[in-house]
Amino acid sequence: MEPETILESLRVTAAWEVRGDGHWVEAPDLDVRAMARLLLSVEARWVTLTVSPVPGGGFRLLYHWDLAGRLLNIATTVPEGLTQSIADIWPAADWAEREARDYYALEFAGRDELPALMLRPEDEPGLFSRTRELGHDADPADAARVDASRGRRDAGGEP
């Protein structure tokens, strides 16, 4: 299937921007589940999901797919920290969604559970969001401020 037909089927009005690193499109009102089902039917391959925070709130979700060697980058935005899960259609997306929660506390609707992947089970999700104001500091001692549980332990409060 050609990339153009994919946009038509998804009723995306914007056109592909073709670059050296693949096809790019911005589709603010994208139905991600319809996209997932369509790309499954055309034997595309899941590449990954890139989540970036949008200045002023919300997130930009960039879905990357491989269609017979072409990289399709389909971007959409969500105003709040909630979007639809596609892990039931594409098991391959499971870890990427769990990771997005770890980093940005983004929640995925339609999942039974969304356990931590990189963080520990007891950690609060959204590590990147929580530490946004923190710069790169060469002294690791300062990083202790990030993690509330570690602060307690260093103070000798370990149970």
Binding site: R120, L127, T131, L134, H136, D137, A138, D139, P140, D142, A143, V146, D147, R150
Partner: protein, 147 residues
């Protein structure tokens, strides 16, 4: 008595068994440690063995900047190695956290968590440097470790 003492010292020098613990390493140091076992370097000549169980070990070799999740394991393993024991920090990460310094999920450097006896600098250190570091650790071990 002196004979026994010197026998024990010699045996510790001739039979150091390692336990390797990856505390969030990138694999670079780990793979060079494995290379030490292979035909070109063959540390078994020196009686060095890599053991699977910490209870069998004399020397704890730690690589990586110590991530939050590996810290508990590090402490458990340290307690499981019977005395006398020596801790070797393999590579730059356990010494200084290297490029990972400042990460919110890194708790290193290693000397905040365990007493470190020998540092083997390098990113990663060459097998020759690793063997030299272990030789340093062996000398400490013969004198009864750091404990």
């Amino acid at each position: 008595m002196r004979l026994i003492d010197s026998l024990v010292r010699t045996s510790r020098r001739r039979s150091p068994w390692l336990f390797h613990l990856n505390a969030g390493s990138c694999n670079g140091c780990d793979i060079e440690l494995v290379a030490c076992l292979t035909p070109r370097y063959d540390v078994e000549q020196l009686g060095i063995r890599l053991e699977g169980s910490p209870r069998h070990a004399d020397i704890i070799v730690v690589s990586g900047p110590v991530t939050r999740t590996t810290r508990a394991a590090l402490e458990t393993v340290y307690a499981q190695v019977p005395d006398p024991k020596v801790v070797v920090a393999l590579g730059s990460c356990p010494a200084s956290c290297n490029v990972f310094a400042g990460s919110p999920t890194v708790e290193g450097p290693l000397d905040r968590i365990l007493p470190v006896d020998v540092y083997v600098p390098g990113c990663p250190p060459r097998p020759d440097a690793i063997i030299a570091g272990i030789a340093e650790a062996i000398a400490l071990l013969a004198e009864g470790g750091h404990a």
